[in-house]
């Protein structure tokens, strides 16, 4: 297990490094001066020169990449073009909002999805099983930003049950402001999770070790919890692990639509201002988190099911 974990960890670090290189190289692949492109057509020659020096663009490319990696290791992601504040500081100010949003969304998806999936696997071909099937296809087919728009329309404009703007102040206000946005992201995943849990539960239920447990006369509930569910949630764990990338994409829209602070809102604002250092820094941090999430989900699966540890 420790060997496997180390292997996976090293691979993740390498992937993040490649991702960083792709993002930095992207600036140089496009013809033209990156400083001009970042600042836009209105920039003065002095400002362009200043930016070139500030971003190290006057150095040769290999030197730039090495310096960039060095800076990242020291936690330095560059400076905001306009205010000169450290990008890392700006990004980490916004990050908690997005992380909370995504975590609560996963909770919605996991709790509703696993419950629905289990229930429809255990009570196959009942009306609830059919209903779950319909809900699954329905929620999968609606992109999260459309879901967010409908949530605003239904719960905030028509029913006026929940607030739809901002992050709220204080704990209780914050929670009420979190319900709609996180639901909008999470509900798209309920269908996926439910379908996958149902399919894999049906598969696991027929496996020899489950029949064995039955033959020993172990109670049904205990078999379900410790023999079936433990294996059957695996695809769902993988899905959530690889799905974190999609969750970040969804968070961009949801933060814009619900006017919430967060990484997504930060990136959109930075793109509008053509503030590339912030865009780059924010993309780096999200990519790092996504790779970490994939790593964790792989390790969780290896821990749940020792058979998976040998594969890499």
């Amino acid at each position: 297990m420790i060997f496997y974990a180390t292997q996976r960890f090293v691979l993740s670090v390498v992937i993040v490094m490649v991702a960083v290189s792709i993002l930095t190289l992207m600036l140089h692949v496009v013809p033209g001066d990156p400083a001009v492109m970042i600042l836009g057509p209105r920039a003065t020659p002095e400002l362009i020169e200043q930016t070139r020096v500030a971003m190290g663009l006057d150095q040769p490319l290999p030197v730039q990449i090495v310096t960039f990696f060095g800076n990242i290791l020291r936690g330095d992601l560059g400076q905001d073009v306009f205010t000169g504040r450290a990008v890392s500081q700006i990004v980490f100010e916004q990050l908690p909002y997005t992380l909370i949003l995504i975590t609560v969304s996963i909770l919605w998806a996991a709790v509703l999805g696993i419950a629905l999936g289990c229930y429809s696997a255990l009570r196959r071909n009942t009306w609830l099983d059919t209903l779950t099937g319909v809900i699954s296809v329905g929620t999968i087919s609606i992109p999260s930003f459309v879901m967010a728009l409908y949530s605003v329309l239904l719960f905030a404009v028509w029913l006026r049950w929940l607030p739809a703007i901002g992050a709220g102040e204080g704990v209780w206000d914050g929670v009420t402001h979190l319900i709609l946005p996180s639901f909008a992201i999470g509900v798209s995943w309920v269908g996926y999770v439910a379908r996958i849990v149902r399919a894999s539960m049906l598969e696991v239920m027929g496996q020899p070790h489950v029949r064995m447990a039955r033959a020993y006369g172990l109670p049904d509930g205990w078999i379900t919890r410790s023999h079936i569910l433990k294996i059957a949630v695996q695809p769902a764990v993988t899905l959530i692990g690889t799905g974190v990338a999609h969750l970040f994409s969804a968070a961009v829209f949801v933060e814009v639509i619900f006017a919430r602070p967060g990484i997504g809102a930060l990136i959109v604002q930075a793109v509008n201002e053509r503030n590339y250092p912030i865009v780059l820094g924010a993309v780096l941090v999200t990519t790092g988190i996504i790779v970490l999430a994939t790593l964790i989900s792989d390790l969780v699966i290896a821990w749940l099911d020792p058979r998976q540890r040998e594969e890499l």
Partner: protein, 292 residues
């Protein structure tokens, strides 16, 4: 098509097999019908729109649906139905162009990774994994900062983020085929690489790839609509579903119709292509069919 009366053991023809699968598959039929409707209306858009999609004040502002305006009008009195149809043309254009590009590049890179030396394979896998670890929209926004928002930026973003997925599949299939007995036999007989590729590898790889691509259309369309919604894709006044939704979002407290009208086609496209992809999979590759 095979004639059933000729030959000793006739294989059911493609058409016969399609009809048999579809006859027991209601969602598949719905999928094909929806896709035909959407693609048809996208091709015929300039001739079938009741109003000019960019003309303002074709009726009262923010009117609910009526006989004159099937999906109502938006905040400056444009006909939403006409805009939705015209937006479908943009969405289909983006999907067709970017998926074609992604498929060709993915096919090429996948073959190289599968047949090339081990180090190249590992390097490419690493780059694919790195590209896949970017969230599509976030990566798209980074590209927009560099080359500016436009229809072509959207296509480029979709192509770049889809290439790794296709390339990986081609690679896996190629690797599996590389050591298959019939390929080894052919190589032992001195068959050249081009013939191996075109006669044996490509036909085996292309089917699953096309089915996957058809199921990816909704993702592409969601990306286009999403970027345009944020003002980072297709620029107004060009009608894109994302632009329509953004206009609707800005006036959501005044009228729900632009949001409803702009979202219906996105939902229908997703359902249509997903159902069609599933049916195609059943027709072409019954082995992949999941036992319920």
């Amino acid at each position: 098509m095979t004639d059933a009366t000729q030959g000793p053991l006739p294989e059911p023809g493609l058409l016969a097999r399609s009809l048999r699968v579809l006859s027991g598959n209601r969602t598949g039929v719905i999928g094909f019908v929806l896709v035909a409707l959407i693609v048809g209306s996208a091709i015929l858009a300039p001739w079938i729109v009741p109003y000019d999609p960019t003309a303002i004040m074709t009726g009262p502002r923010m009117a609910p649906p009526s006989a004159a305006h099937w999906l109502g009008t938006d905040n400056i009195g444009r006909d939403i139905f006409s805009r939705v149809i015209a937006g479908g043309r943009i969405a289909m254009l983006v999907a067709a162009a970017s998926l074609t590009a992604a498929l060709s590049v993915g096919l090429l890179l996948g073959l190289i990774a599968g047949l090339g030396p081990r180090w190249l394979d590992n390097l490419m896998l690493l780059v694919f994994d790195a590209l896949r670890s970017f969230p599509t929209i976030v990566f798209g926004l980074a590209v927009v900062t560099i080359i500016g928002p436009s229809l072509y930026t959207v296509m480029l973003v979709v192509a770049i983020t889809s290439v790794p997925i296709y390339a990986r599949i081609v690679r896996t299939q190629t690797l599996a085929l590389k050591n298959a007995e019939f390929i080894l036999a052919e190589r032992a007989m001195g068959v050249g690489l081009p013939r191996l590729l075109f006669v044996h590898v490509l036909p085996n790889v292309l089917g699953p790839l096309l089915i996957l691509a058809s199921m990816d259309v909704p993702l592409v369309i969601a990306t286009e609509a999403g970027l345009s919604f944020l003002g980072m894709g297709v620029r107004p006044p060009t009608p894109s579903w994302g632009v329509i939704l953004n206009d609707g979002y800005n006036f959501i407290r005044n009228s729900p119709w632009p949001v409803i009208g702009g979202s219906i086609p996105i939902i229908l496209v997703t359902l249509g292509f997903t159902f069609m992809g599933e049916a195609l999979r059943d027709i072409f590759d019954p082995k992949l069919r999941k036992a319920g």
